[in-house]
Amino acid sequence: MLLLLQAPAAAATQIGEPNRVAMVFFFIFIASTLGITWWAARRTRTTEHFYAAGRVIGPRQNGFALAGDYMSAASFLGIAGLVSTSGFDGLIYSTGWLVGWPVVLFLIAEPLRNLGRYTFADVVATRLQQAPVRLAAALGTLATVTFYLIAQMVGAGGLIRLMFGIRYEIAIAIVGVAMIAYVLFGGMIATTWVQIVKAVLLLGGAAILAVLVLAQFGMNPARLFAAAAAKFGDGVLAPGKLVSKPLDTISLGLALMFGTAGLPHILMRFYTVPDAVAARRSVFWATGLIGAFYLMTFVLGFGAMVLVGPDVIKSVEPGGNMAAPLLAEHLGGTPFLGFIAAVAFATILAVVAGLTLSGAAALSHDLWVSVVRKGHASPEEQLKVARIATVLLGIVAVLLGISFQGQNVAFMVGLAFAIAASANFPALVLSMFWRRCSTAGAVASMLTGTVSTLLLIYLSPTVQVDILKHSAAWFPLKNPALVTIPLSFAVGVFVSLAFPEPQAAKDYAYVERRMVLGAVEE
């Protein structure tokens, strides 16, 4: 409360000041995760360890790690901010980000685990021609990973600058160095444990915040919502202006629902468990944890709206992203702000590590080993190439983060989901469930998904109006998934029928058998 005497309401926050508690928590996180990395590095001897953590991660551990990989700063800071400034409209995201998980469980997790080794391209390429399929799959993977990485890096730089008061470039460099260290030395083993630590911190931090908010409203969420309505009108509890165009809402919903099932860093996690049963159980855990987290965003968002107020939140950062940290400061003072700031930082760091690892797998396992070396690379060479790819990707991520500084990149998460849903998901489904799927069909589907999504995003209001400031856009939808997902499926089916592959159709029996039984040889 002393703060109020020193500064006007909008500036009554320590955000932007170097925060000692945040620094302490942050250094504890970095030190312990580097400790984990050191421990993991001594266990990372083969590609099996580097990409798949030796396939010994338990289902509950993998459930936490999946949740850690998935709950990005966009969900924690972004959704809390959106709810706090727009009310109900933000909740559409809270539900949308979860509903892809049951789909992953029903359609993807078990057959993926049974068919592949390290990447989702393993699955698509099982009975098709290796080189073209892996080239196209790597393109889709790298496009997804790159846009996701840009969004995370730019978010990280801005967040850290705002919270710790250090320069943007330095913040980006810290993220880059830490993430390269995790992946380069500790591979999937370190990345998995970093995700688990981060998921526990994030869920714990959000739960403490939610309980502190509810304590002010007699532990009754309805009283919190009623307080929001009393202060800002009934409109905040019902759909509003963010969802004025129905088709936009449906298109984004499609991207979120089917994009989850095509995210390379999520799919890769299913190879870290011993078998399909463990893969199944890990999604069950992940769905429970992620759902609980999004339920808490309801409380955090409306809590920030009532207790902090949308005007104060927007005055600190126009996008509303500081709602959760501001709420923490309001409820627990500077120490709690410091803790939540460190949690947000850990969140970003863990997500970029997972993304980098999946990108490195596409570059080394799919492109180098399978396309360039035609599958004839010694284990030592494979591991070496994977590590070189990690460093390369890490450097690229830092450069991209710096070059996109200050630009509006929030749409890139939606873009990454749209590419995952249109380039990766249809090819996965067609190759697993359709006997007549051919190399030409799968490749055409993946390329169509990637290219059409990029093109339509460029022509959409998101880029044309919001960024380039043109008055109108050629393509009406903000997210192209409504067009690109059916298009990729249609192209995949049509080209498969036009260019059939008798051998691949014959080999489908093997795919069918192995999807159920799993690989006999590992």
């Binding site: 109900f88 909740l91 559409i92 809270s94 539900t95 949308g96 979860l98 509903v99 998980w101 049951p102 789909v103 469980l105 029903f106 359609l107 969420p221 309805a222 009283r223 919190l224 919502f225 009623a226 307080a227 929001a228 309505a229 009934d234 409109g235 509890l237 019902a238 759909p239 969802v243 129905p246 088709l247 809402t249 449906i250 919903g253 629902m257 049963v277 199944r280 159980r281 999604v283 069950f284 769905t287 429970g288 759902g291 999004y294 339920l295 309801f298 469930f433 069918e512 058998r513 999807m515 159920v516 039984l517």
Partner: protein
């Protein structure tokens, strides 16, 4: 093709039917919610109790439905699918 192969194929087909049915339910639940948001905003603005609108309740129920559907699938797979697969593997 042996009888075991035929049984395996039948088991796989059953799993796909269950998986597709559950996927369809999830799609209907979520896009039903989205369709209401898109086309019937006044309905969702209805207050059930002070503070709790139908929209917020349905939002919570979409999350609960995701949990329930994954639970149904995992339970089915653990009690029906796995034992049958185990039997066929021998």
């Amino acid at each position: 093709m042996t009888t075991t192969d035929l049984h395996l194929r039948a088991l796989a087909a059953t799993r796909w039917r269950v998986a597709l049915a559950l996927t369809a339910v999830m799609v209907i639940v979520y896009f039903g919610f989205v369709a209401l948001i898109a086309f019937d905003k006044p309905l969702l603005a209805l207050h059930l109790t002070p503070g709790l609108t139908l929209g917020i309740l349905l939002g919570v129920l979409v999350i609960v439905a995701s949990w329930l559907l994954t639970w149904v699938y995992v339970r089915w797979a653990n009690t029906r699918y796995d034992p049958e697969l185990h039997r066929l593997r021998k």
